[in-house]
């Protein structure tokens, strides 16, 4: 039995995309060293590239890769100078070898431990994101570099430094216990949400939505829900990104950003909305509300409205007020002001905007929201100034087109609405 080199490449790529996280987690558990686990998996991949064209592609590819990687680790340990210190790990690996026939399908799932390692707060935020995408998401270094507009070599160095720090600094490969657990789950959730937002907002570049990173975040959030079924905020995050992502086809038209109230709601992904809603409902029943569940609830209210006018703004404003209590920030206050502008009126909202002027003075969405409120309040002169401030802070072409159109409309109007 033989296999064409192309088929071997495809099989390996597919296996790694699906199972890289599971393999690295199982190897790290057996070897006790994340950096070495990566190296041994790499060795196993090279062995597969060499062997599979002649021997054919094995039935259980991940089982094959795991076994070969374990043997590579054993070889390294046996060659090591401090053989005595390694004897415990050698025993573990030899036992694993004895227990596992060549083509096992049962790889113990240690991915939760791995995700806590990759999202450890002792690592830089961008590093956590890259390492999680690489290790759990199975993306290649080149793909991650492209997503973050980095050079592959730079991204490769970042990943190598991270692996080295994990090994040398003793960043643990374990599920944190007690009080630390909630904090560390939050660290994981924020990494997944960052990945999603990077894909969704695409703060630079010409392609408005980088779908791949959004799908990647959904994959990781689903994995977290599967691994932490009892944590409502984990489900809250999955619901939030499913609901948000359901609108992605309607968010851009001819390269220009389309605001929520002008979107064609038929383009929304109603299957995803239904899924997000049911996940959120189940999570909220546990009675441990948190920021992700609240944001998901707000997004769900938008998704449920048949039209922009049908949006339940008073309810959305109430949810933002709750959010301000449990996770206060000026961004939350800005969103509250926007909700109030629809629930009560633009003047009421502008009062809430006043105290935010200083801290959000360089934040594009602040000026975009303020401009819109001023326009609706009939203060066209001031609206113009705010649109120009927003434009000056805009980096994406799609947002720029939108704001230019709005500014043009306001420019055609007198400075104040005639009374």
């Amino acid at each position: 039995m033989t296999a064409a080199p192309d088929a071997v490449h495809t099989a390996i790529d597919y296996t790694l995309r699906q199972d890289r996280g599971r393999l690295i987690a199982a190897l790290t558990a057996a070897i006790g060293d994340f950096e070495l686990a990566e190296e041994c998996l790499q060795d196993a991949i090279e062995a597969a590239l060499e062997k599979w064209p002649g021997s054919g592609i094995p039935k259980s590819r991940r089982g094959w890769l795991l076994q070969v990687a374990r043997r590579k680790a054993l070889d390294r340990f046996r060659r090591a100078k401090n053989l005595k210190e390694k004897s415990a790990q050698i025993a573990v690996l030899e036992q694993a070898e004895a227990d596992a026939p060549a083509n096992t399908h049962d790889i113990p799932d240690h991915r939760l431990r791995l995700i806590f390692t990759c999202c450890h707060p002792a690592l830089d935020e961008k590093t956590r994101v890259a390492l999680t995408l690489r290790t759990l998401g199975g993306l290649t270094t080149e793909e991650i570099a492209r997503a973050f507009l980095d050079k592959p070599a730079t991204m490769g160095q970042r990943l190598a430094r991270a692996r080295s720090k994990i090994s040398k600094a003793g960043i643990p490969f374990e599920i944190p216990d007690g009080e630390a657990l909630e904090e560390r789950i939050n660290s994981v959730l924020s990494v997944i949400y960052l990945i999603f937002n990077e894909g969704y907002a695409a703060s630079s570049g010409d392609t408005p939505i980088r779908i791949d990173l959004c799908e990647e975040a959904i994959f990781l959030a689903r994995l977290m829900v599967q691994l932490c079924p009892d944590a409502p905020e984990v489900a809250g995050l999955l619901a939030l990104i499913l609901l948000t992502h359901s609108r992605n086809k309607a968010r851009y038209r001819d390269g220009a950003y389309v605001p929520l109230n002008e979107q064609n709601r038929d383009l929304w992904d109603h299957k995803r909305i239904a899924e997000g809603q049911s996940i959120l409902e189940a999570a909220m029943k546990r009675g441990q509300v948190g920021p992700y569940q609240l944001q998901a609830a707000i997004t769900a209210l938008h998704c449920e409205a048949a039209s922009a006018n049908g949006t339940d703004w008073p309810q959305i404003a109430a949810l933002y007020r709750l959010m301000e209590q449990i996770a206060p920030s000026d961004i939350v206050r800005l969103n509250l002001a926007v909700a109030v502008s629809y629930a009560e009126g633009a003047e009421e909202a502008l009062e809430l905007m006043e105290p935010l002027a200083r801290s959000l003075g360089k934040y594009q969405p602040y000026f975009a929201a303020k401009a819109d409120m001023l326009r609706r309040a009939g203060q066209f002169g001031q609206a113009r100034v705010a649109y120009e401030s927003a434009l000056a802070l805009t980096t994406s072409q799609a947002d720029r087109s939108f704001l230019h159109d709005r500014l043009a409309v306001v420019n055609d109007l007198p400075k104040k609405r005639p009374s």
Partner: protein, 116 residues
């Protein structure tokens, strides 16, 4: 694994000697030291004299050059250290967080290198 916790702070930051707050700070160090002893994690720990007492040494072309002062003129200066024996970075961070100077200065945790 062994970890060194390096304690940095600016001289004018935090409680100054002969104030009630300084007494509280020292109390915080005592409490931390007691916990370290109970858990058996502290291998060493010392406070340093201020940077004005430092002498820096370089050997160039076989000749020692002495400099009056610290290696780096930074606002935050190394003021002391602890050497911990812990299983993981998480444990080392847990103990480093108990160092009272972390409230206004910075504590850097570094693993000690082992040579195999």
């Amino acid at each position: 694994m062994k970890y060194l916790a390096l304690i940095y702070s600016a001289q004018d930051a935090g409680p100054q000697p002969n104030t009630p707050e300084f007494g509280q700070l020292m109390g915080g160090y005592q409490a931390a030291g007691k916990k370290y002893a109970e858990d058996g994690v502290m291998l060493a720990g010392e406070a340093l004299q201020p940077v004005e007492t430092a002498t820096s040494i370089r050997i160039r072309d076989g000749k020692a050059e002495l400099m009056d002062g610290p290696f780096a003129e930074t606002k935050e200066q190394l003021g002391g250290f602890y050497l911990f024996e812990c299983d993981t970075l998480d444990d080392a961070i847990k103990y480093a967080k108990m160092i009272p100077t972390a409230e206004y200065g910075t504590v850097e945790v570094r693993p000690i290198m082992t040579f195999d």
